[in-house]
Amino acid sequence: MIDGGIFGIVPFGDIIFKYSMFSTIGFVIAITFTILVYLTKPEKQLEAQKFGEDKLIDIPLHELKNRRYMAIVCGIATAGAMLTQDIFDFALFLTLVGIANIGIVSAVKREHVLNASFQYGLTSIIATLPLFGASALILAKTGTLSILELHHLNKNLLFEKILYGLGMAGETGVAPYYAAKAEMFRAPGSPYILMIHLSSLLLIVRTVEILLTI
């Protein structure tokens, strides 16, 4: 027992969306934050100037629209990743979150932010190899991708699990590889950047649940 009881199931063919206690809480959090990000106006950052008064930095409208769109995509993808019961589908959701994260900061015209997001992008590109490789290996070894089925099979999948975890770590930019990500957070515009962090944290917890289940 990991997730504390099932409430319901939404089938899309072979891919199933399951509402357990754990996934429902994650889903509700992700959706709440997506709505909040849509409603919130970005903060104005105060920058010290070398000469004269401090300058109040506003986010211009054209930049705001693009970043808000990316933040919403990121939120919806996170909400979907909470529910899905298919390993390959989850990997795709992870990739979508990874690329939307880069999109959120790509519109900021600051050199160090762009540099950090470039490094993060490289990591997430590398991370697709272990992620999809691990799901392919699992499919070959067990003949199925569904988490509900893998739960009953009881095969030794240690190496695949390690690969999958590594892929997740690169895609969400988790702890040992956080340095690039922390730089990204210096960009102005709070709610959108908040979304990067929220999605990665929720996805880490969800991945741990999946790895314990299969």
Partner: protein, 66 residues
Amino acid sequence: MDIEKKVGIVCLIIGMLSFILMFITNGLISYLFYILFVPNILYGVGIFIVPKTRRKKLGKIPFRGY
């Protein structure tokens, strides 16, 4: 009416609604309404008992230059 009071009224309404819904519903949903009820009521009640701000320019907080 300034924005703090407006938010306080919204929070009070949410708190009251969840207080009523808490007793109608059962199981996990009622716990959800309970955890919505507590902080909203705390903020909504609190904003009406704090003293009125004595700052000259509202909202200009005292860090660097303001």
